[in-house]
């Protein structure tokens, strides 16, 4: 049971919340000051999150930088304030810090209710960071739910189009998903031999949760958790909130939504479904991978028909997040030293998709600021007028379609490597998805950036310096991961090691 209180994680998680409070009490006044204050806070949080990542030592304790104190201690309920990072969460914390800063910079042009906007953005960031670091189920769920409120308000207040509908849809879907999770958490909690919300106890191989004494059948628990995370991920057929929410969200909202909030689903799948229910994951690997493959192909096919840039990216996210499921299902066959490839790929996919889609949305956001349209047929030939934005688009697009030396490739190939051992035929189908990805990404680039430029776009200007920051940061991270992925994969592998060793040690016999 990890104990201690170093305070670093608490600071990282709550710095944005404190900033939000400062803003809420009106200590910072004037839109300009607020923007720069926000940028400073986000930058500080990025630095903190990078420090978290840097201080995390692979090969050390499983959970590091732990902050813990008792929260609720009664006869029936025990919960603690327990933050900590392992190899799975440390990179995601950094990702959140990175995208948080990007979100602030792409929001510089916001002029409507600036103060409230940044308050909600910061609350959102705290919530997401909390989800990634919380190691107590109650705390985890708390952060998981808090995140809804700012996102809902960001979409419905600062969004575009049918924003209220989309925000509501986002909310209802997510709450529906988390409702299932609540049942599961409660059931785990009341299971004999558990009696607390401490995740670390449950995560140990052969942990506290015993199938014979669980309050609900393990399979049921598994699916309850799965549904919650699948909605967030999102998986076909519960993905339909995503295109609407993405399309109508403000740029920063889309960046955070696609960049980190979808990752909460994948993180949950890795942390809980893979970590606590190894046997169930193996048992149900086939349907999960099938869902993943359907998501990949279905998402890609539907993407082909989209004419709204953000909608297109949103559907491509559905397609890409399907890979996480495929990677997850790769543990159907265990044994050998290669069990972790699929899981590592899934984890990598979380990170890489975060940066790639983040960059795509940043680019679309800049584009939209200038053109006020995202309708692809209205656009064209922007490459000459906006070389930087176009370059960002191009890099993100190339990364998105899995081009090597950009980050997307690494996660894709790892997922395929892992999954092929378990489900060769399904994996081949999923690999076909990369052709479709090339199709829609290139189609989008062609229609948007290339070809003749309608005369009305002659006066466009390129990204402003403030907008350049997120572009640069994200491009650097995409290239950095792509060119030398080991600095990230090794951390992920360290986080997945206990899970994988659990499979290898206890379950090698099941391998088909």
């Amino acid at each position: 049971m990890p104990t201690g209180f170093s305070g670093l994680l608490t600071a990282t998680v709550f710095l944005p919340a404190v900033a939000a409070l400062l803003l809420a009490f009106g200590l910072i006044r004037g839109d300009r000051n607020i923007r720069w204050f926000a940028a400073a806070v986000a930058a500080a949080d990025l630095i903190l999150s990078v420090i978290v990542f840097a201080l995390f030592q692979p090969g050390g304790e499983r959970f590091q930088l732990v902050d813990r104190f008792d929260w609720i201690t009664t006869d029936t309920v025990q919960a603690s304030y327990l933050l900590g990072v392992d190899g799975i969460s440390a990179p995601l914390v950094m990702l959140t810090g990175l995208l948080g800063l990007c979100a602030v910079f792409v929001s510089f042009h916001i002029s409507n209710r600036v103060r409230e906007y940044f308050i909600w953005l910061f609350v959102l960031q705290t919530a997401v960071l909390g989800v990634f670091t919380a190691l107590d189920f109650l705390l985890f769920f708390l952060f998981w739910e808090i995140e809804l409120v700012p996102m809902y308000l960001l979409i419905s207040t600062w969004g575009t189009g049918r924003r209220e509908y989309s925000a509501m849809k986002f909310l209802i879907f997510t709450i529906l998903g988390s409702a299932f999770m609540l049942v599961a958490i409660v059931a785990v909690f009341v299971s004999a031999g558990v009696g607390s919300f401490d995740m670390t106890r449950l995560l140990e191989p052969g942990g506290a949760l015993d199938a014979s004494r669980a309050a609900l059948p393990m399979g049921v628990l598994f699916w309850l958790f799965f549904i919650a995370f699948a909605v967030k991920l999102p998986t076909w057929p519960v993905h339909t909130w995503l295109p609407d929410a993405h399309t109508d969200a403000p740029t920063a909202g889309s960046v955070m939504l696609a960049g980190v909030m979808l990752k909460m689903g994948g993180y949950g799948l890795l942390r809980i479904n893979a970590g606590m229910f190894p046997e169930q994951l193996q048992q149900f690997a086939l349907p999960i991978v099938a869902l993943g493959v359907i998501s990949v192909l279905y998402g890609a096919v539907v993407t082909m028909r989209q004419t709204d840039l953000k909608r297109l990216i949103a559907y491509s996210s559905v397609s890409h997040m399907g890979l996480v499921l495929i990677g997850l299902g790769s543990v159907a066959v265990v044994g050998g030293a290669l069990t972790d490839a699929g899981l590592t790929g899934a984890a990598m996919q979380l990170f890489t998709h975060g940066t790639i889609t983040g960059l795509l949305f940043v680019a679309v956001g800049i584009l939209y600021e200038q053109t006020h349209t995202r309708h692809i047929p209205d656009l064209g030939g922007l490459a000459n007028r906006m070389p930087i934005v176009s370059g960002a688009f191009l890099i993100a697009g190339a990364a998105s379609l899995g081009l090597p030396l950009l980050s997307g490739f690494v996660s894709e190939i790892l997922v395929f490597f892992g999954a092929f051992r378990a489900f060769p035929a399904l994996t081949i189908l999923a690999v076909l998805g990369i052709i479709l990805a090339a199709g829609y990404i290139l189609w989008m680039l062609q229609r948007t950036l290339f070809g003749p430029r309608p005369a009305r776009w002659d006066d466009l200007t390129d990204a402003s310096p403030a907008e350049l920051v997120p572009v640069a940061l994200l491009v650097i991270s995409i290239v950095a991961v792509g060119v030398y992925p080991a600095w990230l994969t090794e951390v992920f592998r360290d986080g997945l090691e206990p899970i994988v060793s659990g499979y290898n040690a206890g379950l090698a016999g099941i391998s088909r």
Binding site: V301, G336, I428, I434, F450, G451, Y484, P485
Partner: protein, 677 residues
């Protein structure tokens, strides 16, 4: 250590050049654009020198074995980036850097004044780096990485003039079609990884190329025999799919003619000399694996031979000079594939070597012509011989080399392919090998025909108006003007900066074949007979040696070539000179079929992608998504709202309704209790 650095430098110099141009020179603005060209040329020049040095020292017995660097730790199948310096690599390096250097120099003239001059050289550097990386790769994933980057560079360069819709579309098409092949490649890699544990049991790394060779070799031959039988066949077919995509083999050839939308030097470098040869390189790289599977070799041979003929027929009816060359390239790549298929490893690579020079030359010639005539459409050219004699001579040399006329470079390599397929010493059955030979011979005939047609239409006869006239005509018929057409018509020779590289390539096209692989003498200038082919063969375990020169085959092939030229002369020049109407169009449906490229583009884009996929599959899925998957969500909301309203109706305000319903509820509870126990 120093050696290793020098080898890496061949790769890293263009990388540095790319970064320098992209991050420094280009942001500085057009004033500094020119320096981008010099940087690139410098990088490639040094690279070329180093490559030659490497080839020479390696051929003289220097052994290079550098430890690879860990890129991604995957346990037993760790992905390690390193250098694989075997004859194939070394020769390819020389070709890539050499041709690239020539093309860059030429580009200094050709691209002069283009507003994106720096961007062009950035892309070119990127391409060179990727291609060199591909050639150097020791790990199959590393190879795939650069394989894809080469594809990206190609995409960027085809779409270089991205404001032209045709260029943007062609770039996309090129990328997607090659990607279809790449899926095969990727699946092959995935399959290899799947076997990682088995490899590891033998102390091998499943992704390390030399280990893969070893694994494919049967135990009897001293290998590990891990991959065999059906799996081996599928592995080979996967790799070949990738190769076919890149090298434009049937049925993935349709992108290459369209790729001519890019700047002409790009076509010369990428879509003639280097990148498209990557497919051949890939099969060559895994030749020890392919060689173990007879079926795979048969597939390679037959597809190659078929492509050689098939593409050549389309070359007969094309009017765009660059497209003719593109078909010609596809056809020649078919020769190389066929050669690999029949086991003529060194002949195939030898042809790759010579082809790089003469095809690059032909393309540069086409660019030069375009500079003068303002169009690529041969129907608007004619009579340029007088205006640009240098270009004319060099183009004729290139064309003859292409046709395979003794003693030009093309002759030597093509002759060896024909010879070996006739001799049928390879792993494929003799009947197949001879069939391949016959098909290739037909290819020679066709090659000769379209080559003469191209030269004739371009340079002979009277000038037919050039770009100006074409623009006038297209305007009249209300169609958009094709790429590369401009009012800028000035009949005159190109500048020296363009002619000199052409000249150098011309010299190579004449002598390279014989010089590099002298036949008939025991040695020439210290280069022994069959030096190149033997050098290639030394990279293989079983050391396949080229058969001795066969005069009969040489005579037959030259005769066929001359016959082809003769037919073309009869058609176009004599007795009645060509004016404006295409004599072949009298062929009626056949000509239409050829001119329409066997309708394969229509099949792919119009029917499969457009009708079946986009309008049917995608549209239906999209409809399902909007109406059924999403609709269900809406319906649940609608139902619950309306149930709510319905229930609210019972709330009619009449107070006694409430206890009434409550009493009914209470009674219902009792009934349920009694009924259910």
């Amino acid at each position: 250590m120093l050696t290793e650095i020098l080898v890496w430098a061949i790769f890293l110099l263009p990388v540095a050049s790319f970064l320098l141009i992209g991050l420094v020179i280009r942001p500085l603005g057009p004033a500094f654009a020119k320096s981008a060209g010099y940087v690139t040329i410098l990088a490639l020049g040094i690279g070329f020198i180093l490559s030659v040095w490497l080839l020479r020292s390696h051929a003289h017995g220097a052994v290079y074995d550098f430890a690879p660097y860990l890129w991604l730790n995957l346990g037993p199948a760790a992905i390690e980036f390193g250098l694989l310096l075997d004859p194939l690599t070394n020769v390819m390096l020389v070709v890539v850097t050499g041709v690239s250097l020539m093309v860059q120099i030429y580009s200094m003239g050709y691209m002069d004044g283009d507003e994106s001059f720096a961007r062009y050289f950035a892309y070119m550097s990127l391409f060179s780096a990727s291609m060199i990386g591909l050639v150097l790769a020791v790990n199959i994933v590393q190879m795939y990485v650069f394989w894809e980057l080469v594809g990206l560079s190609s995409y960027l360069l085809i779409g270089f003039w991205h404001d032209r819709p045709a260029a943007a579309a062609a770039a996309k098409k090129a990328f997607i079609i090659t990607r279809i092949g790449d899926v095969g490649f990727l699946l092959a890699i995935i399959y290899l990884f799947f076997q990682a544990d088995t490899f590891a049991a033998h102390g091998l790394n499943a992704l390390h190329i030399p280990h893969i060779w070893e694994a494919a070799a049967p135990v009897a031959a001293g290998g590990a025999g891990i991959v065999a039988g059906g799996a081996l066949l599928w592995l080979c077919l996967g790799l070949f799919a990738g190769a076919a995509g890149k090298s434009g083999q049937f049925p993935l050839h349709t992108w290459l003619p369209d790729a001519m939308e890019g700047p002409t030097p790009v076509s010369a470098l990428i879509h003639a000399a280097t990148m498209v040869a990557a497919g051949v390189f890939l099969v060559g790289r895994f030749f020890p694996v392919f060689a173990e599977s007879e079926t795979a070799m048969m597939v390679v041979a037959l597809i190659g031979a078929f492509t050689a003929v098939f593409a050549a027929t389309m070359g007969l009816a094309a009017n765009d000079i660059k497209r003719v060359m593109a078909y010609s390239t596809v056809s020649q790549l078919g020769y190389m594939m066929a050669a690999l298929g029949v086991g003529a490893y060194n002949a195939a690579l030898f042809h790759l070597f010579t082809h790089a020079f003469f095809k690059a030359l032909l393309f540069l010639g086409a660019g030069s012509v375009n500079h003068a005539a303002g169009t690529f459409n041969m129907m608007y050219m004619g009579g340029l011989r007088k205006a640009m004699p240098g270009t004319y001579i060099l183009t004729v040399i290139g064309a003859l080399s292409l046709v395979g006329i003794f003693p030009l470079a093309g002759f030597w390599s093509k002759d060896e392919i024909l010879l070996e397929s006739w001799l049928a010493h390879g792993p494929v059955p003799a009947s197949i090998s001879v069939l391949v030979f016959a098909m290739l011979l037909v290819g020679v005939l066709l090659t000769a025909f379209y080559s003469y047609r191209m030269v004739h239409l371009t340079f002979h006869g009277e000038f037919r108006g050039g770009g100006e006239r074409e623009l006038h005509d297209t305007e009249a018929s209300g169609q958009p003007a094709p790429t590369g057409v401009s009012h800028h018509v000035h009949l005159g020779e190109s500048p020296l900066v363009m002619l000199i590289p052409m000249g150098l390539l011309g010299v190579s096209a004449v002598i390279a074949g014989w010089l590099a692989n002298p036949i008939g003498v025991s040695s020439f200038l210290g280069i022994p007979s069959h030096w190149l082919t033997d050098y290639f063969a030394s990279g293989l375990h079983d050391g396949h040696h080229a058969p001795p020169f066969n005069i009969a085959i040489a005579v037959i092939s030259n005769a066929v070539a001359v016959a082809g030229i003769g037919l073309a002369v009869l058609t176009y020049a004599w007795p009645r000179p060509f004016t404006t109407s295409e004599p072949l169009s009298k062929g009626g449906p056949l000509h239409t079929l050829l001119a329409q490229r066997y309708y394969m583009d229509d099949l792919y884009e119009g029917v499969i992608v457009g009708r079946v996929f986009y309008r049917a599959v995608a549209a239906i899925t999209d409809w399902i998504d909007r109406n059924i998957v999403d609709g269900m969500v809406g319906m649940v909301g609608w139902i619950s709202r309306n149930i709510g309203s319905l229930l609210a109706l019972a709330q009619n305000g009449q107070v006694q309704t409430y206890p009434l319903i409550a009493a009914a509820g209470g009674l219902l509870i009792i009934v349920l209790y009694l009924a259910l126990g």
